[in-house]
Amino acid sequence: MADIAKVSGAQVAAGAWIDGVQSAEFKTLIDTKRRSIVPMIVTYVVGYIGLSILAGFGRGILGTKVLGSVNLGFVLIAGNYVMSWVLAIVYARISTNRHDPLLKVVVDKARAAGGP
């Protein structure tokens, strides 16, 4: 197997398995991951930073009573807990059902080509 550790200056002389990075399977894996992860990142950034901005600049809005003494702020805080837990479950499912099988194809191919 080629020694990739010594390629800092010279031509990249890695083993053929590393060419897996150019393969269609690897590109599919990256695209699939990106398509599922990016919307999740947008969701929690908007949800949580939105709450933080409202806590600073929308104090009257967060004080709107919703249920008894519970105001909109506490509802949104509870919403952030639920959002995080839902994202955790959704990501766990998507990664197990969609990402991992695609990853297995890439890894198997790299191993067949002499990878570690």
Partner: protein, 510 residues
């Protein structure tokens, strides 16, 4: 102080020393010492992460903040859970696939140039010390309050405990101490939650109404603690990105065999720690309901004794066996929490000094395995002694600024550098140095001239400078990379880096 507390405290101490003795016999190699042999399961690492995540600042602090400041306390509590979305989606699996023991490993693997590693070492050490000193000081104050021992003696006791755990038992002992502490803490939380809700007929709305009625109409609004609106935004940003940049939490992902286990351990901690954080908001409101806002302001600095006081009340009151039992239990768990968290921090700092600085930077990796373990153990002792001395010196100093500072640096310096190292092709050593330098300097500089340190004479208005320091850190990283010029070989190698980030496949040499 009563016998029940002392007995419980002694029991926890004996169990953790027993674990340390067991772990010490199994810790022979560097992978044992730094990464518990990479043999933890998802559930074990999840509980240990929950232990790391719920420091005394969370366990006692969030409850106290909610009891004293209402909604701001609840905002403090929800952030650390959302932070794990960042860890889950961006950090945990790539980190497990690229690094070995430390964050420095990841930076060195990507950059292969000593200045990049040096910058990562500085970042890790500054963040860890800034996080460790307030934990030591908090531990000293807490033990002093609970047991009536002098402050400096209390800090030394905490220091001795953590040095023994880390130097003898390495990551294995540290992990199991965390796991046991997390189980006890979650148990204590469940009991308190049950008792607190039972008193109001399991209707949490009563707690909200009661808190509003006794503590005033503004109590349930934001802004009671963080007066400046930008501080609320800083808190959010710092949490969302900074907790994902804390070295002692990131190194936890090296203790599992593969990326899938790393991912599953994050799911575990999100439910374990998340449920506990949600609980602290209820505890805080319950404390106002049962004890009244006035009782909480007396002899309760920073609200840190709110949870022990609530536990005592729910157990039956000051002079009952139940009350003493609950107070003893919560106090013992609090001390165990401090010991476990400082142990984790000491271990991560030792990794940066022994593995990154000594072995990889100074000796270029040419150190025998046996010697590496020895150096790691000696470093743990030295780091422990330094932390203890700094903890003693911190008496009376406002240590809150240091916690904010640690999270701010982690968000502004560490986080951009790690994420860009993993995902940006053109990121290079110039970027690492630029991002670390600008993130670090702006965080430290702005925190020191802010109200947390200078009080009313502050030159800079924000307690938490993340809202400014984070963009500066990112700018430093981006412009540092662009100014350093393009290195086509380095960029070409990014393909291999990406392959390893995604698959975990690595050649023998890297």
């Amino acid at each position: 102080m009563n016998l029940i507390t002392i007995a419980m405290f002694a029991a926890i101490l004996l169990i953790s020393l027993g674990i340390t003795a067991w772990a010490a016999r199994r810790t022979r190699t560097t992978v044992d010492f730094y990464a518990a042999g990479k043999g933890l399961t998802a559930a074990q690492n999840g509980f240990a992460l929950a232990g790391d995540w719920c420091s005394a600042a969370a366990f006692l602090g969030f409850t106290g903040l909610t009891a004293l400041y209402g909604m701001d306390g609840a905002l403090y509590a929800v952030g650390p859970l959302v932070a794990f979305c960042t860890v889950l989606l961006l950090i945990a699996e790539p980190l497990r696939n690229t690094g070995t023991y430390t964050i420095g490993d990841v930076i060195m693997y990507r950059m292969r140039q000593p200045p990049a590693l040096a910058a990562a070492i500085v970042g890790t050490i500054v963040i860890n010390l800034a996080y460790l000193i307030p934990q030591m000081a908090g531990g000293g104050i807490l033990i002093k309050l609970l047991f009536g021992i002098r402050y400096d003696v209390s800090v030394i006791l905490v220091g001795c405990g953590m040095i023994i755990y880390v130097a003898a038992g390495g990551m294995l002992a540290t992990s199991w101490v965390q796991i046991i502490k997390a189980v006890l803490m979650l148990g204590a939380g469940a009991i308190i939650l049950l008792l607190a809700l039972a008193g109001v007929g399991f209707d949490p709305l009563v707690l909200f109404a009661s808190a509003e009625a006794t503590a005033g109409p503004n109590f349930l609004l934001p802004g009671n603690l963080l007066k400046n609106p930008f501080d609320e935004v800083s808190l959010g940003l710092g949490y969302m990105l900074g907790l994902a940049g804390l070295p002692h939490v990131m190194t936890r992902f090296y203790t599992v065999p593969d990326a899938v286990t790393a991912r599953r351990s994050v799911i575990w901690v999100m439910f374990l720690a998340g449920a506990f954080f949600a609980g602290t908001t209820i505890f805080g409101l319950a404390a106002v309901h049962y004890l009244g806002p006035e009782a909480l302001r007396v002899g309760n600095p920073g609200g840190n004794l709110t949870l022990p006081l609530l536990a005592q009340y729910l157990g039956g009151g000051k002079d009952t066996v139940g009350g003493q039992l609950m107070l003893g239990f919560v106090s013992a768990v609090a001390v165990a929490t401090i010991l476990a968290v400082v142990a984790g921090l000491t271990l991560a700092t030792s990794g940066a000094v022994a593995n990154d600085l000594y072995v990889n930077l100074l000796r270029k990796g040419k150190v025998e395995e046996r010697q590496q373990v020895l150096v790691a153990r000696i470093t743990a002792v030295l780091v422990g002694i330094v932390a203890t001395l700094l903890g003693i010196m911190a008496e009376g100093v406002n240590v809150a600024v240091l916690v904010i500072l640690a999270i701010c640096i982690a968000a502004s310096a560490n986080f951009p550098v790690i994420v860009l190292s993993l995902f940006w092709r053109r990121f290079n050593t110039g970027g690492v140095v630029g991002g670390m330098a600008l993130g670090l300097v702006s965080s430290v500089g702005l925190a020191l001239i802010g109200p947390a340190y200078l009080g009313p004479n502050a030159i800079w208005p924000l307690v938490n400078p993340t809202v400014v320091a984070l963009p500066l850190g990112i700018l430093g990283a981006v412009f540092g990379s662009l100014l350093a010029g393009r290195d086509h070989e380095h960029e070409k190698r990014f393909g291999e880096v990406t392959f390893r980030i995604q698959t975990g496949l690595r050649s023998n040499q890297t």
